[in-house]
Symmetry: C2
Amino acid sequence: MPRVVVDVMLKPEILDPQGQAILGALPRLGFDGVRAVRQGKRFELDVVDEMTEQTVRRIAETLLANPVIEEFTVHTG
Amino acid sequence: MPRVVVDVMLKPEILDPQGQAILGALPRLGFDGVRAVRQGKRFELDVVDEMTEQTVRRIAETLLANPVIEEFTVHTG
Protein backbone atom coordinates (compact mmCIF):
# COMPACT_ATOMS: atom_id res chain seq x y z
CA MET A 1 0.00 0.00 0.00
CA PRO A 2 1.46 3.41 -0.94
CA ARG A 3 2.88 5.61 1.79
CA VAL A 4 2.27 9.36 1.50
CA VAL A 5 3.97 11.93 3.76
CA VAL A 6 2.52 15.33 4.60
CA ASP A 7 4.94 17.79 6.22
CA VAL A 8 3.31 20.73 7.99
CA MET A 9 5.36 23.75 9.04
CA LEU A 10 4.41 27.15 10.41
CA LYS A 11 4.59 29.86 7.76
CA PRO A 12 7.93 31.69 7.94
CA GLU A 13 6.31 34.88 9.23
CA ILE A 14 4.62 33.07 12.16
CA LEU A 15 6.53 32.95 15.43
CA ASP A 16 7.57 29.44 16.48
CA PRO A 17 7.95 29.36 20.28
CA GLN A 18 8.74 25.63 20.34
CA GLY A 19 11.59 26.11 17.89
CA GLN A 20 12.80 29.12 19.87
CA ALA A 21 12.80 27.10 23.09
CA ILE A 22 14.93 24.40 21.46
CA LEU A 23 17.30 26.99 20.01
CA GLY A 24 17.71 28.51 23.45
CA ALA A 25 18.34 25.18 25.14
CA LEU A 26 21.04 23.95 22.74
CA PRO A 27 23.95 26.07 24.03
CA ARG A 28 23.02 25.28 27.62
CA LEU A 29 23.39 21.59 26.72
CA GLY A 30 26.74 22.20 25.08
CA PHE A 31 25.65 22.20 21.46
CA ASP A 32 26.92 25.05 19.33
CA GLY A 33 26.51 25.70 15.66
CA VAL A 34 22.72 25.73 15.28
CA ARG A 35 21.48 29.10 14.08
CA ALA A 36 17.72 28.49 13.72
CA VAL A 37 15.17 25.81 14.61
CA ARG A 38 11.61 25.42 13.33
CA GLN A 39 9.32 22.70 14.66
CA GLY A 40 6.54 21.23 12.57
CA LYS A 41 4.51 18.08 12.12
CA ARG A 42 4.98 15.03 9.94
CA PHE A 43 2.09 12.76 8.98
CA GLU A 44 2.60 9.34 7.40
CA LEU A 45 -0.51 8.07 5.62
CA ASP A 46 -0.94 4.58 4.20
CA VAL A 47 -3.40 5.00 1.35
CA VAL A 48 -5.07 2.80 -1.26
CA ASP A 49 -3.55 2.63 -4.73
CA GLU A 50 -6.35 4.75 -6.19
CA MET A 51 -5.63 7.73 -3.90
CA THR A 52 -4.84 10.91 -5.84
CA GLU A 53 -2.46 13.64 -4.75
CA GLN A 54 -5.37 16.07 -5.08
CA THR A 55 -7.32 14.17 -2.43
CA VAL A 56 -4.30 14.04 -0.13
CA ARG A 57 -3.94 17.81 -0.50
CA ARG A 58 -7.63 18.26 0.43
CA ILE A 59 -7.10 16.03 3.48
CA ALA A 60 -4.05 18.08 4.45
CA GLU A 61 -5.76 21.46 4.18
CA THR A 62 -8.92 20.21 5.92
CA LEU A 63 -7.55 18.14 8.76
CA LEU A 64 -3.76 18.15 9.04
CA ALA A 65 -2.82 21.81 8.61
CA ASN A 66 -4.29 25.19 9.49
CA PRO A 67 -3.83 27.07 6.21
CA VAL A 68 -4.04 30.42 7.99
CA ILE A 69 -0.75 29.89 9.81
CA GLU A 70 0.74 26.71 8.34
CA GLU A 71 1.96 25.49 4.97
CA PHE A 72 2.30 21.87 3.93
CA THR A 73 4.06 19.72 1.38
CA VAL A 74 2.96 16.32 0.11
CA HIS A 75 5.45 13.71 -1.05
CA THR A 76 5.73 9.96 -1.25
CA GLY A 77 7.38 8.32 1.70
CA MET B 1 23.84 27.99 5.72
CA PRO B 2 23.01 24.28 5.48
CA ARG B 3 19.55 23.07 6.38
CA VAL B 4 19.23 19.77 8.24
CA VAL B 5 15.91 18.02 8.86
CA VAL B 6 15.22 15.66 11.76
CA ASP B 7 12.04 13.58 11.47
CA VAL B 8 10.81 12.05 14.73
CA MET B 9 8.15 9.33 14.71
CA LEU B 10 6.78 7.10 17.44
CA LYS B 11 8.21 3.58 17.26
CA PRO B 12 5.86 1.26 15.35
CA GLU B 13 4.93 -0.67 18.50
CA ILE B 14 3.89 2.50 20.38
CA LEU B 15 0.23 3.48 20.16
CA ASP B 16 -0.37 6.78 18.36
CA PRO B 17 -3.65 8.29 19.62
CA GLN B 18 -3.29 11.44 17.50
CA GLY B 19 -2.92 9.37 14.34
CA GLN B 20 -5.86 7.22 15.41
CA ALA B 21 -8.01 10.31 15.95
CA ILE B 22 -7.22 11.56 12.45
CA LEU B 23 -7.89 8.14 10.95
CA GLY B 24 -11.28 8.07 12.68
CA ALA B 25 -12.21 11.57 11.54
CA LEU B 26 -11.42 11.07 7.84
CA PRO B 27 -14.51 9.03 6.87
CA ARG B 28 -16.75 11.41 8.81
CA LEU B 29 -15.36 14.23 6.67
CA GLY B 30 -15.97 12.28 3.48
CA PHE B 31 -12.44 11.05 2.85
CA ASP B 32 -12.06 7.37 2.06
CA GLY B 33 -9.00 5.40 1.11
CA VAL B 34 -6.68 6.11 4.05
CA ARG B 35 -5.79 2.92 5.92
CA ALA B 36 -3.36 4.17 8.56
CA VAL B 37 -2.10 7.49 9.93
CA ARG B 38 0.94 8.14 12.13
CA GLN B 39 1.72 11.61 13.46
CA GLY B 40 5.24 12.71 14.23
CA LYS B 41 7.42 15.78 14.42
CA ARG B 42 9.65 17.51 11.90
CA PHE B 43 12.50 19.79 12.92
CA GLU B 44 14.28 22.08 10.48
CA LEU B 45 17.69 23.21 11.73
CA ASP B 46 19.87 25.82 10.07
CA VAL B 47 23.41 24.88 11.04
CA VAL B 48 26.91 26.15 10.41
CA ASP B 49 28.97 24.56 7.64
CA GLU B 50 31.17 22.73 10.14
CA MET B 51 28.24 20.85 11.72
CA THR B 52 28.65 17.07 11.55
CA GLU B 53 25.85 14.54 11.18
CA GLN B 54 27.13 12.92 14.37
CA THR B 55 26.46 16.12 16.32
CA VAL B 56 23.02 16.48 14.78
CA ARG B 57 22.26 12.91 15.86
CA ARG B 58 23.37 13.71 19.42
CA ILE B 59 21.12 16.80 19.40
CA ALA B 60 18.24 14.67 18.15
CA GLU B 61 18.60 11.96 20.77
CA THR B 62 19.18 14.49 23.57
CA LEU B 63 16.61 17.15 22.84
CA LEU B 64 14.35 16.38 19.87
CA ALA B 65 13.35 12.76 20.40
CA ASN B 66 12.64 10.47 23.32
CA PRO B 67 14.63 7.36 22.32
CA VAL B 68 12.53 5.16 24.58
CA ILE B 69 9.40 5.60 22.48
CA GLU B 70 10.53 7.49 19.38
CA GLU B 71 12.89 6.93 16.46
CA PHE B 72 14.39 9.65 14.30
CA THR B 73 16.00 10.12 10.92
CA VAL B 74 18.41 12.88 9.90
CA HIS B 75 18.61 14.16 6.35
CA THR B 76 19.47 17.34 4.52
CA GLY B 77 16.54 19.59 3.75
